[in-house]
């Protein structure tokens, strides 16, 4: 089964979409995330030693990236866009657009690192949004379980069960991306590892992942407790029925015994 988080192959976007002000040789690559979402990557080659030129282009690239990601929600504490000067090269990231302004020999390396980061960040952002949505339901679900367990014959299913599965799913997804988020600092570093470290640091990826994990853990625990509570209520109900059955049987047995005693006396 194909992972829904896997990016689709890079697709070239026609030249006209390259914003004004960038030199010839610039290109845009579109990475298809699926579900009608994509990440546009602007690649701008500059000559070696042209750091001033790269610096001015990075400002333009950041404007372009920020404009294109206007509609995307960013987690609290994470900037809407990030500009990273990296030893003469410049990298821009925003939720839906990124740019690499670098010497030709570094473009592909940095673009790959930026794409990998963007994918990881997007997965985390999705999980944060799913976690937010789940968090809004936890209290209602917990209340309905506790009330249902005590007052009705059948605990509510469907919605709550779905929420429980959602909490487990979020927690599992967070575990999957944990090695990417908490990757150790590489030494000696490569250009790609330096970029990844800076991007993770600027977007507070580790802190966001920790927070999302804590919230998912809490939801999992709440739904586990709710499930246990519902199970206990079910057992208690069965136990109560059993007790009544035993009582009825005993009463029946006593009645039979009484009939037997009475009939034996009548016979004398």
């Amino acid at each position: 089964m194909m992972d829904r988080n896997d990016p689709q192959p890079l697709t070239a976007v026609p030249d006209p979409e390259i914003p004004a002000g960038f030199p010839s040789g610039s290109a845009i690559r579109r990475i298809d995330w699926g579900a009608q979402r994509a990440f546009d990557l602007l690649l701008v080659p500059v000559s070696e030693g042209q750091e001033a030129e790269g610096s001015s282009l990075s400002v333009l690239a950041r404007e372009w990236a920020t404009t294109g990601s206007g509609g995307s929600q960013v987690a609290a504490g994470c900037p809407g866009s990030v500009l990273i000067p990296l030893y003469g090269n410049h990298v821009v990231w925003s939720p839906e657009r990124g740019a690499v302004i670098a010497e030709a020999g570094r473009l592909d390396t940095l673009a790959a690192a930026l794409t990998e980061f963007a994918q990881c960040e997007r997965r985390l952002r999705d999980l944060e949004q799913r976690g937010d949505s789940l968090n809004n339901r936890v209290e209602t679900d917990a209340a309905s379980i506790l009330v249902a367990g005590e007052a009705t014959d059948q605990p509510p299913r469907g919605g709550v069960q779905g929420s429980q599965l959602e909490s487990i799913s979020i927690r599992a997804e967070l575990s999957k991306i944990a090695p990417l988020v908490h990757a150790p600092v590489l030494h000696p570093p490569t250009a790609a590892s330096q970029l990844a470290e800076r991007l993770r640091d600027r977007t507070r990826l580790a802190e966001r992942h920790d927070l999302a994990t804590n919230r998912a853990d809490f939801a999992v625990q709440v739904y586990e407790a709710c499930g246990q509570r519902a199970f206990d209520a079910k057992i208690a109900r069965r136990q109560s029925g059993l007790e009544w059955a035993i009582l009825v049987i005993l009463l029946g047995q006593m009645a039979l015994m009484l009939v037997e005693i009475l009939s034996s006396r009548t016979g004398q």
Partner: protein
């Protein structure tokens, strides 16, 4: 800065007063040297001692802090580091008492990193740059060297290597002879620039272990660097505000006189002229150059101190040249707080712009160490500024024309080139060189460990622990 002593009166003292033993004065302790070592000792002693004592801190100059100095440019009131540029953070591996102290004082540590090495007029910031500049073969050789370095010293060995003043994990001999295999001139220069960029020890005196430490400290798994927000001297101010010792500034201790079976006497010259006072215990928290100027009276004491100084006397030198510019280098440097240059046998160029939040100016500070620092310290300030400007990497060369003010600080003989000496001595012998004749004379210094502030704190903790026990025994004797 000098404050009267105001110690908390504890139960045994109350008991003494009740018994009418008011004549029993608390023991007197003198700390000579108001640098980090002296202040750390005072701070630790006040926290560890459980009996009353009178603490005096002598400082020959008009300021506390020694090599931790954050002055201000006169033209714009902007701060810069003139001495210790950074603190070492050992928390990736183990406990770090200095970082704990910094945080407990309410100070804010700010991470400091830098990977850029300028060698042969090229910037090498990562393995890709290394490959581009020196060829694919250099990348493989660098990996070989890195593996060798890691296998020679684990993070734990690195962490403990400062404690006993040496490291036993590596082979003997100088570092430059220990590099594995033919590394090539370019790679050798790259590695040696990394190692010597903030090292005052010349290559010939850099042991394999010391060289390894200085290479591995670039790896965040072994150690990280930080500075204190608002300037490193914040640490000194915070300590000075909290200790209750009587601080005597501009008071130079000139002679330590040994007394038979009694207290020591210090002869000193201060604002009130030459004086002499007796103390039950004396801590000499001085750099070696200052210790050498101190006179010791009493044959055995003088001999013992001569042996101590002789063992540790490997003077090394630093030179700090700092320029204030009206444009920030940070857009070029990015997240890096420093870069390493192969000029002057390997030096470090710090960008201290971040000391002032939201600054638009730039502060560029060169840290030059070793023989180059000693030779260049003879030049006048203008010549030094001219020399350092010639070493600016091409990407920062435009800042050379935007200098607003320059400052030079010479730290000649201020540190030890061979911390702990060639042979590491037991801790007690390091701190009490005259243990038999003058047991309550203690030495505190970063040079006894690894020539860092962490080493100074470790030394101070040892001395304070010993003194606290000694004060306890004095009180028991009096009782």
């Amino acid at each position: 800065m000098g404050k009267p002593m105001n110690r908390t009166v504890d139960a045994p003292l109350i008991s003494q007063i009740r018994q009418g033993n008011l004549a029993a004065k608390p023991p007197r302790v003198a700390i000579v040297g108001g640098g980090p070592g002296g202040l750390f000792t005072a701070w630790n002693l006040e926290h560890q001692a459980d009996s009353p004592f009178e603490l005096n801190l002598f400082e020959g100059t008009d300021r506390l802090g020694g090599k931790v100095l954050t002055p201000v440019f006169s033209t714009r009131g902007i701060r810069y580091e003139a001495g210790a540029a950074e603190f070492y953070d050992y928390t990736p591996v183990g406990e770090d008492p200095l970082r704990d102290l910094v945080e407990s004082l309410g100070l804010h540590p700010v991470g400091l990193a830098g990977a850029g090495v300028h060698v042969l007029e090229k910037r090498i910031a990562n393995l890709d740059d290394l490959c581009d500049t020196l060829g694919p073969d250099a990348r493989k050789k660098m990996a070989t060297f890195d593996n060798w370095a890691r296998s020679a010293m684990t993070p734990r060995e690195f962490y403990t290597s400062g404690t006993d003043g040496s490291c036993h994990a590596a082979q003997p001999g100088p570092f430059h002879q220990a590099l594995p295999g033919p590394v090539g001139n370019g790679l050798r220069r790259y590695i040696e620039t990394m190692i010597h960029s903030d090292l005052a020890t010349p290559a010939s005196k850099t042991s394999t272990a010391y060289g390894l430490q200085n290479y591995l400290m670039n790896d965040p798994a072994y150690m990280r660097l930080y500075r204190i927000a608002g300037g490193n001297e914040q640490l000194i101010r915070a300590l000075a505000e909290r200790i209750s010792a009587q601080v005597r500034l501009s008071t130079r201790v000139e002679r330590v006189v040994r007394a038979e079976n009694g207290p020591m006497r210090l002869e000193f010259a201060g604002p009130e002229g030459p004086q002499s006072e007796a103390f039950d215990a004396v801590v000499l928290a001085l750099p070696l150059e200052a210790l050498k100027r101190l006179k010791f009276q009493g044959g055995e004491l003088s001999e013992a101190m001569g042996r101590h100084i002789g063992h540790h006397d490997h003077p090394a030198h630093y030179l700090r040249v700092t320029l204030l510019t009206d444009q920030s280098p940070q857009p070029i440097l990015g997240d890096d707080g420093y870069l390493m240059l192969d000029a002057f046998g390997g030096c470090c160029l710090y960008s201290e712009t971040a000391i002032e939040p939201g600054a638009r100016h730039g502060v560029l500070g060169w840290l030059i160490g070793g023989e180059a620092a000693e030779q260049m310290s003879l030049l006048n300030d203008q010549a030094l500024v001219s020399e350092v400007l010639n070493t600016l990497p091409p990407s920062l060369a435009h800042l050379g024309g935007r200098v607003v003010e320059s400052r030079v600080h010479r730290w000649v003989g201020a540190v030890s080139a061979v911390p702990g000496g060639w042979d590491s001595l037991p801790e007690d012998r390091r701190h009490r060189p005259a243990a038999t004749t003058q047991p309550s004379l203690l030495i505190v210094g970063d040079y006894l460990y690894d020539s860092t502030l962490n080493g100074a704190l470790e030394s101070a903790e040892y001395a304070a622990g010993w003194l606290a026990a000694h004060l306890q025994s004095l009180r028991a004797g009096n009782g």
